[in-house]
């Protein structure tokens, strides 16, 4: 069983990881495009971030290049900072209009 699992894992190639990353990205993208709730949209962007992070790690492991892992650290840092900022903004917007619908803020384009 252990062996079987090990062989199964060893049979996992780079493309498996990239497919997973691509699926995650598409889920995040579709979620971002279809939903109107600001928090959900924000979560979707996080999903896309993680998709990119998986692709980086997998590629780094594949080529024994640690740059990919370094990038992931950066992505996590930026995502954390961005999450703090974006959530603060969402809170502010909610306080103004008591709504989380993105379409209610269309006039911000001007």
């Amino acid at each position: 069983m252990t062996l079987q699992l090990a062989t199964t894992f060893s049979q996992l190639s780079l493309s498996h990881y990239l497919v997973l990353s691509g699926l995650l990205f598409v889920i995040g993208l579709v979620g971002f495009l279809t939903r109107r709730n600001l928090i959900v949209m924000f979560l979707c962007t996080e999903l896309m971030f993680q998709a990119a992070a998986i692709a980086f790690v997998a590629s780094g492991r594949y080529w024994f290049n640690f740059t990919g892992q370094v990038f992931v650290i950066f992505i996590l840092t930026v995502a954390a900072a961005e999450a703090a900022l974006a959530l603060a903004l969402v809170v502010l917007l909610y306080r103004r209009r008591s709504t989380l619908n993105a379409d209610d803020w269309m006039e911000l384009c001007e």
Partner: protein, 722 residues
């Protein structure tokens, strides 16, 4: 290496004059001569204070008269000193040194007999005319009175710098200064559009000449390394700059100086400003635009005469321009009706005589004519001013008559008569001798067409006699008749509605008229005086010119070494009708002047209706009609200049304005600014505020880029593998 540098430095050093400065005395003990300049300057400052404190009395006039009188007295004292020529340093003005050379222009006076001659009539007439103006301008007391007299003071200071300066830069300072004072005083009645236009015209036309002077000074400095007269003359005399005689700049200098002189002294291409300058108050016309400032051009050429002798062709040009100006201005003067304008054209014409004199190598004749003309033209203008003052600005000679029979006007009428006989060159008056000196010399000196020029000048003398006495016969003689002008004084003591009472001139005007008229008569005395220096006739005036830098042109005077000899002109003594021109001219000009005088008396005094008949006869004949029409319209010179210069410049200005407005501003500046906005307008709809639409655009864009990269990689890999 070091020696090469040393040689270069030696080459770049200004050449040291090999000959010590001729016989110019450095006279520091005569520092008081500076007060000839400082007096008008102090007066300028005091008059300015009077204007600032709104002094409502004749104080500015008395300040000016007193200070100018001081200048005059100092000039006379200076002239009686023995040790001229001398140089009096007042203070260091500009002194710049650098490795390649130096530029030195000190505020110093160069006093030789030419300076004294000029300053004596400038300050003398200046004093008298300021005295005259104290009465003439009295209606402006408290208003423009101080402004007027500060202008006169400024003029005298500038004229002093021009004449007494020891270098060309000081001359330039004075040259621009008199130009500015002239602008200031022509535009004195600044509420009158014609006066403002005339002031601008005078200033702008003079700028053309000033450009010539500026270039000439630069060329002189770059060729000779100095702008001081005594050093320049020394260089020219000694021929230390022999190599540079071949240099083109030495040929160009006299032409540039000539341009400057033609501008200031109102000669042919640039004379148009002087008749218009009569818009100024009459004392200004008399002092600046007849007696003194306009002779600055003659002074410039006389002072720089050695330069002209280096380039004889330039003197031929001077002679011809002078002769033609004399004729043209005389023909215009014949057909005008405004007294002041007639005298203005007469001034242009007489200045033409002076240039003719300079051109035919008689600087003595030119300077003598300057001297006599200063007196008789001043008296003519001042008499015209008295008429204008008394008849409320009336200057039309058809509307004035019989002045000599009116009470209180006899002095004006008879001083004007004296001015007229002198101007007309009536035998044994001052104008007769000074004009003859020029006319005779035109026949003596050899030059291109000088003999024809002489006959032109004689014909002009006939015209001069005619138009001069046309004025006198119309205005001063004949039956008493007058119409007031349109400048009504609001002092209330005459009521225009009922009857106009001309107010006759009082003491100041009459006194000045008599003194200057006497001066005009006595100006013929020097001609009979014995000479101390030169052999030719002409008394102390000839001596004075002979002693100065203008001397080289006097016949019989020893030629300067180093200058191109003019002996050809003097060895062959020309003749006129088989007689010596100097003798024959007494008869010719006397007869010609007499004919003109007779004609004027006939047409304008004895049978005035004949003048009108003659005019209508001329106008009725198609073949001759153009002549009186052209003369009355000043030969359309103003119109021609308008078409040839002003209209193209106006057009050019408007084209440039349009180019700037629509191409530079409109297309380039605003167009560049408008471009981003235009492009932005195409993409603006994309920014609709819908977050999802941005995301779609972004994702689409990213997909597109990814697709493109994949395709490109496949293409390149396929290419590399092949």
């Amino acid at each position: 290496m070091t020696s090469a540098i040393a040689i270069r430095i030696v080459e770049m050093l200004p050449a040291v004059p090999a000959v010590p400065m001729a016989d110019v005395v450095e006279a520091t003990s005569h520092w008081w001569a500076g007060f000839i300049l400082w007096c008008p300057l102090i007066s300028l400052a005091l008059c300015g204070l009077c204007a600032a404190f709104r002094v409502k009395s004749k104080l500015p006039a008395w300040i000016t008269v007193l200070s100018l009188a001081c200048s005059f007295v100092l000039t006379i004292i200076l002239g009686n000193l023995e040790d001229v020529p001398e140089r009096i340093q007042l203070f260091e003005w500009i002194s710049v040194d650098w490795v390649g050379g130096s530029f030195v222009a000190n505020f110093a006076l160069y006093i030789d007999s030419l300076t004294i001659l000029w300053m004596s009539f400038v300050t003398g007439l200046g004093t008298l005319i300021a005295l005259y103006a104290s009465e003439y301008m009295e209606t402006d007391v408290g208003k423009g009175y101080a402004r007027f007299f500060s202008g006169v003071s400024a003029f005298l200071f500038a004229m002093g710098c021009l004449v007494m300066g020891d270098n060309l830069l000081m001359l330039y300072l004075g040259w621009e200064g008199v130009g500015f004072a002239s602008y200031w005083l022509i535009g004195y009645y600044y509420r009158r559009p014609a006066a403002v236009a005339a002031a601008k015209k005078a200033f702008i036309v003079n700028r053309i000449g000033d450009l010539g002077l500026a270039l000439a000074i630069y060329l002189i400095w770059s060729t000779f390394g100095t702008v001081q007269y005594n050093e320049l003359i020394t260089h020219l005399d000694a021929g230390t700059f022999a190599a540079s005689y071949e240099h083109w700049s030495v040929e160009a200098i006299p032409y540039l100086l000539m341009l400057a002189a033609f501008g200031k002294s109102a000669q042919l291409p640039l004379y148009v400003w002087l008749p218009d300058a009569m818009e100024g108050p009459t004392p200004v016309s008399a002092l600046i635009h007849a007696a003194t400032m306009v002779t600055a051009g003659i002074y410039l050429i006389a002072r720089m005469y050695p330069f002209f002798l280096l380039e004889p062709t330039s003197l031929h040009v001077v002679a011809w321009v002078g002769g033609l100006t004399a004729l043209l201005a005389a023909t215009i003067g014949m057909a005008q009706y405004d007294i002041k304008r007639i005298f203005a054209y007469s001034t242009v014409s007489q200045l033409g005589y002076m240039f003719l004199g300079l051109g035919v190598l008689t600087t003595y004749g030119a300077s003598y004519h300057v001297f006599t003309h200063a007196f008789f033209k001043a008296v003519l203008f001042l008499a015209a001013g008295a008429v204008m003052h008394g008849f409320a600005g009336q200057l039309d000679l058809r509307k004035l008559s019989g002045l000599r029979r009116m009470k209180g006007w006899r002095i004006v009428a008879w001083t004007m008569f004296i001015g007229c006989v002198c101007l007309a060159g009536f035998p044994f008056t001052s104008g007769y001798f000074s004009k003859d000196a020029i006319l005779a010399e035109a026949f003596v000196t050899q030059g291109p067409g000088f003999e024809a020029l002489g006959w032109i000048a004689i014909f002009t003398a006939f015209l001069t006699a005619y138009y001069t006495f046309r004025v006198w016969c119309r205005v001063c003689a004949g039956p008493v008749h007058f119409e007031p002008g349109d400048e009504l004084h609001d002092d209330g003591h005459h009521d225009e509605e009922h009857e106009f009472h001309p107010h006759a001139p009082r003491f100041a005007i009459n006194f000045v008229l008599v003194v200057i008229a006497l001066g005009a008569l006595l100006a013929s005395v020097p001609y009979f005086m014995t000479n101390e220096v030169s052999e030719i006739k002409g008394g102390w005036i000839a001596d004075m010119v002979n002693d100065s830098t203008a001397a080289a042109g006097i016949p019989g005077h020893e030629e300067h070494p180093g200058t191109i000899a003019h002996d050809a002109g003097h060895a062959h003594h020309g003749s006129i009708l088989g007689m010596d021109p100097h003798v024959a001219m007494y008869w010719i000009s006397g007869v010609v002047g007499g004919i003109g005088l007779f004609l004027a008396f006939w047409l304008h005094l004895w049978r005035r209706q004949d003048a009108d008949r003659l005019r209508s006869w001329l106008l009725a004949r198609a073949w001759i009609r153009w002549l009186p029409v052209a003369m009355e319209n000043k030969w359309y010179v103003d119109e021609v200049y308008h078409a040839l210069v002003r209209a193209p410049l106006w057009l050019l200005g408007h084209i440039a304005y349009g180019f700037d407005r629509y191409i530079v501003d409109g297309l380039l500046v605003d167009g560049t600014a408008r471009l981003p906005r235009l492009i932005a307008r195409w993409f603006q709809p994309l920014q609709n505020g819908l977050l999802q639409s941005y995301a779609v655009t972004m994702a689409g864009g990213a997909a597109l880029i990814t697709l493109l990269m994949v395709l490109m990689m496949q293409f390149f890999e396929g290419g590399s593998v092949q």
